[in-house]
């Protein structure tokens, strides 16, 4: 048993750090430290392309498709250095981390040719059309209909909570293609161009004032017959494969971003005297310990030689970080006191810590709520009976 990364990995870390910090000090200094996912969308697209030009857009992908065949450890290192350099979040993270890997795993060669170069080049931005007004945790109850009409699929229905749809080019959609089917059967996974008259995107304002997610309406929206991944009726399997990517390693490197937030709290506590309050000190220590344990939990997962085996650490990781960060938001406000409840900005915009307090309420909802995570842990990790289904 050893802590730490290999010398080769540390060399890779230095290379990442060097390039990222250089960018944030140079050409892209104007976007350094932006925390809002929706701010400066044009510059953020340029940043995606800059990453692509220098081979950093999708390092975990195969070389043949524009990646670097980076190991999991290297992907984590890159994510850590990305956050350490204060680079704003990827507007194409759904393309790089969800759409791309799904197409690589389940798509045809022709689909790979057609879609992967655009993502790898940072030119096509993707969003995720899973949730609907009546299908959230219970994704299998989606109703958005897809019907094959000659050479095209015709899609009708509504998706909701579609993050970044308003700045995206493509969307993948879980549709019900078999009329009268219910549950996970009869679903088809389609990839659709968002720039068409049949699709309307309406932003939804969130509790922090920002509007990162949207309602997405499909009214006779169309895509070519070969836009499906897998077979007709095979949509559930593809969607589950994609969710495995979403809950998988893509989040392992995010502790460094959390580090920045905790450091912000520590600095605030020292500045305003909260650091002398014994209860605050206990909570800061707890947050520090939780952050370290997240990192070493991630390293434990990375050290497993068989990554397909869902170990206990992997199964518990999502709820662990989400709950940790939600408490961190509460700690931030308790450190700031009432001063944290007023903003110097116009337009209901918030600095990092109050925004953390507001935004982190979503962490325990998206990607499977905490309750759904507990169901999964108890059922898959501990062998407890499955939840019963209702009739509706």
């Amino acid at each position: 048993m050893k802590l730490g990364f290999s010398a080769a990995d540390e060399a890779f870390r230095a290379e990442c750090a060097d390039w990222l910090q250089g960018q944030m000090a140079g050409e892209f200094a104007d976007i350094k430290g932006i925390t809002k996912l929706t701010a400066k969308p044009e510059r953020r697209r340029e940043w995606e392309q800059q990453l692509a030009e220098h081979g950093w857009a999708c390092i975990g992908w195969p070389k043949a498709w524009g990646g670097r065949d980076a190991t999991l450890a290297q992907q984590v290192i890159f994510a850590e250095e990305y956050a350490r350099a204060d680079v704003p979040g990827r507007v194409n993270h759904i393309g790089v981390e969800l759409a791309g890997p799904t197409i690589l795993a389940f798509g045809s060669d022709e689909q790979k040719q057609r879609f992967l170069p655009g993502i790898a080049a940072g030119k096509t931005i993707w969003c995720q059309g899973f949730s609907e007004p009546n299908a959230g945790s219970d994704l299998a109850s989606v109703r958005t209909r897809a019907r094959l009409d000659g050479e095209e699929w015709v899609v009708n229905g509504q998706k909701i909570w579609t993050s970044l749809a308003h700045i995206s080019d493509w969307i993948f959609v879980v549709t019900r293609s078999e009329e009268g089917s219910a549950g996970p059967k009869g679903l088809t996974f389609l990839m659709m161009n968002l720039h068409q008259p049949g699709i309307e995107v309406r932003p939804i304002r969130q509790i922090n004032g920002d509007a990162e997610f949207n309602e997405t309406f499909f009214t006779d929206a169309r895509c070519p017959a070969d836009s499906l991944i897998g077979a007709v009726g095979d949509g559930w399997r593809i969607a589950m494969g994609l969710l495995a990517f979403e809950r998988g390693v893509s989040t392992l490197g995010q502790q460094m971003g959390f580090r920045n937030e905790l450091d912000g709290i520590i600095a605030a506590a020292k500045a305003n005297g909260a650091a002398q309050d014994p209860l605050i000190r206990q909570r800061i220590a707890q947050a520090e310990i939780g952050l370290r344990l997240m990192r070493y939990g991630a390293l434990r997962m990375l050290s497993q030689t068989d990554h397909s085996a869902i170990g206990g650490a992997a199964l518990t990781y999502k709820i662990q970080w989400a709950s940790w960060r939600r408490s961190l938001g509460e700690l931030a406000m308790d450190v700031l006191g009432q001063a944290g409840e007023v903003s110097a900005h116009a337009d209901y915009e918030w600095d990092m810590l109050p925004n953390l307090f507001l935004y982190s309420r979503a962490d325990t909802i998206y990607g499977g709520t905490n309750q759904i995570q507990r169901n999964l842990i108890a059922e898959r990790g501990l062998g407890m009976p499955r939840e019963p289904r209702g009739q509706a």
Partner: protein, 350 residues
């Protein structure tokens, strides 16, 4: 990335787990609880049959020359059975002697401790006065102090070895955790040898104790979960297995979430110590506080999730619960350890 057990470490774990499961049975533990809180046959088996008593001690002193990761693996396995044996005092005192004893002290004591001929207990922070090489005073709450043949006695920065004998008496009050009774040791001009390097000995005593306690806590927590999971599948109410109720299974999930973090904490701390990492001290405070709290949470949930049977003397849940409680307070409470972490991250602000 190699933050995983080596093949050898895995083997030690498997050996220790199956040995403790077989040897440290509930019946034997209960016999020890009714007696002096120690299963003497278990301890001699551990030292002689299993041969793991020298695990984190130097090879040239009859030890195995391995590190705290291996010691933690063993303590975790012992904790999982709430074994009634003096592993804590043994590991703390033997490693303290290895770190701060003179050549002669090491050569004399370590083989005897490892071989199981002498049993050691740590009487840290004793209230004693030294007059030449004779100690007078007392030490309270000494784990397995009533069974020991050798005491490591400390007062602030000084440490002595005091063999049981003339001038040394032990009294063991009723102790809540009967698998690790806490004795009061009274010294009356007892013969004491100062350790050659007290500071090194005491620092090692402390870090070793924290690792053992944290690892025991991990073992306690995991065993509490495993046993509750088995019960949840078995017990039926309202026509369904109780594990099918969401309030129930979510609580099991929360236990597992905490345990996975405790596991990261314990092996991070042990490994950081073995590597001499500059994170080691922070990791130890994190591990001791987090793992002991997790043990308590899981043992407490074990009682609740068993219902009435979990409240009986006959069921083992109370063994886990009482051990967990003592793990939380022994060698620094959770709040104290977290305050040490706060000092490290906040620096001097007062």
């Amino acid at each position: 990335m190699e933050f995983a057990f080596t093949a050898e470490q895995q083997m030690i774990g498997e050996t220790a787990r199956s040995w403790f499961a077989q040897a440290a049975t509930s019946a034997r533990t209960r016999a020890a609880m009714a007696g002096d809180g120690m299963d003497a046959a278990l301890w001699s088996g551990f030292c002689r049959e299993l041969g793991l008593s020298g695990v984190a001690l130097p090879e040239h002193r009859s030890g195995a020359g391995l590190g705290l990761v291996e010691l933690a693996i063993i303590a975790e396995a012992a904790g999982a059975q709430v074994a009634a044996m003096p592993l804590l005092g043994h590991a703390v005192v033997a490693r303290a002697i290895a770190a701060g004893g003179s050549d002669a002290q090491q050569a004399h004591w370590l083989p005897r401790l490892i071989g199981g001929e002498t049993l050691a207990a740590a009487a840290l922070d004793a209230e004693v006065t030294a007059d030449d090489d004779a100690l007078t005073g007392s030490a309270r709450l000494v784990p397995h102090g009533g069974n020991a043949g050798l005491f490591l006695v400390s007062r602030t920065n000084q440490a002595w070895l005091v063999p049981a004998g003339a001038g040394v008496t032990a009294h063991t009050p009723v102790t809540m955790d009967q698998t690790r009774p806490l004795a009061t040791i009274t010294l009356n001009a007892a013969a004491a040898e100062p350790l050659a390097d007290s500071a090194a000995a005491l620092a090692t005593a402390q870090t070793t104790g924290w690792v053992v306690l944290a690892a025991e806590g991990l073992g306690v927590a995991q065993a509490a979960l495993d046993r509750t999971v088995a019960y949840a599948k078995d017990r039926v109410q309202f026509g369904r297995a109780i594990g099918s109720f969401q309030a129930y299974k979510h609580r099991l999930a929360d236990m597992m979430i905490a345990i996975e973090q405790a596991r990261s904490a314990v092996y991070w701390a042990a490994c950081a110590m073995d590597e001499g990492s500059d994170e080691a001290v922070l990791a130890l405070h994190a591990a001791k506080s987090f793992a002991a709290d997790t043990a308590f949470k899981c043992a407490a949930d074990m009682i609740q999730l068993h219902g009435g049977i979990g409240f009986t003397w006959e069921h083992d849940a109370h063994l886990f619960f009482k051990r967990a409680r003592s793990l939380q307070t022994m060698m620094g409470s959770g709040a104290w350890h977290r305050e040490q972490v706060a000092r490290m991250v906040l620096g001097d602000v007062a």
